[in-house]
């Protein structure tokens, strides 16, 4: 199963619109400018996916994961350096909370940040594809991303990965937004991308 070049272009553009939404939300959270890269669309095996994420230097990352279901199923992941969690939280709540209280709230604040960023992207993608999607509750995974990928392993079936890197330069925080689309949804995805490109033509 392979997406043709036009479909990959369409998928990149659709997620790029979502990135605009996420960048806006993220800069409001951070209170400063946030750089997000143009999405990359990659078709990978599970093993390649683990290597890909490891090459990106994300071995020591924590993740907020959220499943979205609808005409296509996807798992959305916000990855950030495990040692920068508290910094992300401080960006969001500013000086409103004492440091000891902040540490206590770190996990739920990270979930909320993940929820906002992942939903910003997915709401835009759902509208562009004209395919409403419902999100499950986000979960926080403090284990290594390698484990996360391994945990998803189901035989040798390839996955479609759309990844977007972000950087809050002033805070020296870098991370990744990744969207894994389920193989079973590819037929539906191809059809939606075809409708999308026809609407543009």
């Amino acid at each position: 199963m392979n997406l043709d070049a036009l479909s990959v272009d369409a998928l990149t553009e659709i997620f790029n619109l979502g990135v605009g939404q996420a960048a806006n939300a993220f800069s409001q959270i951070a209170g400063e400018s946030v750089q997000l890269t143009v999405p990359r669309v990659l078709m990978l095996s599970r093993n390649e996916l683990a290597d890909h994420l490891a090459l990106g230097g994300v071995a020591g990352f924590s993740a907020v994961r959220q499943r979205f279901s609808g005409a296509i199923q996807s798992e959305a992941v916000l990855m950030f350096p495990a040692d920068r969690g508290l910094q992300l939280v401080r960006m969001m709540v500013g000086g409103e909370v004492a440091l000891d209280q902040l540490a206590e709230m770190e996990q739920e604040a990270l979930l909320e940040i993940g929820n906002i960023l992942l939903n910003s992207v997915m709401a835009s993608v759902a509208d562009e594809l004209q395919a409403p999607m419902d999100g499950d509750l986000p979960t926080l995974d403090l284990s290594l991303v390698q484990d996360l990928v391994g945990g998803r392993s189901e035989g040798g079936a390839p996955v479609l990965l759309i990844d977007i890197q972000f950087e809050v330069a002033a805070q020296e925080v870098r991370g990744l937004l990744a969207f894994l689309l389920d193989v079973g949804s590819w037929g539906a995805l191809e059809q939606m991308l075809s409708h999308y490109t026809q609407r543009l033509a």
Binding site: V93, E96, M105, E108, A109, L117, A123, A126, P132, G135
Partner: protein
């Protein structure tokens, strides 16, 4: 005017951020909190509430379903849905149910929108 706001959000951090901004603008308001839709629905019948902010993605009864129950019980109570996930399909549903949407994240600007809606509702 004495105004009682019910803040419904499963995230304690979000409730805290909403409450801080509301009380900064309206120190005389009373802010009640509920951590789920299930908790919120009976609260609006048991006490006087003048407005509600509602998260959408929550465990148990989600924000939309909770808002529908609240609006059916009290059609004139202003309810603002606070979410990052505003799809066109959600807009249609919100319009049908008579609730308003404001996009997360919670900032001074988004909370000004929320408070304007709550105080300007008839």
């Amino acid at each position: 005017m004495a105004f009682t706001l019910l803040v419904v959000d499963d995230s304690r951090v979000s409730r805290m951020m909403i409450k801080a901004r509301v009380l900064a603008a309206h120190p005389d308001w009373t802010v009640l909190e509920a951590a789920s839709g299930d908790e919120a629905v009976p609260m609006v019948s048991q006490q006087v509430v003048h407005g509600v902010t509602m998260d959408v993605n929550m465990p148990g009864l989600n924000g939309f379903d909770a808002a529908v129950l609240i609006k059916h019980a009290q059609p004139h109570l202003p309810v603002v849905m606070l979410t990052a996930n505003i799809q066109e399909s959600s807009h249609a549903r919100a319009k049908a149910e008579g609730v308003c949407f404001v996009q997360k994240p919670i900032t001074d600007a988004s909370m000004r929108q929320v408070m304007a809606y709550l105080t300007e509702s008839p």
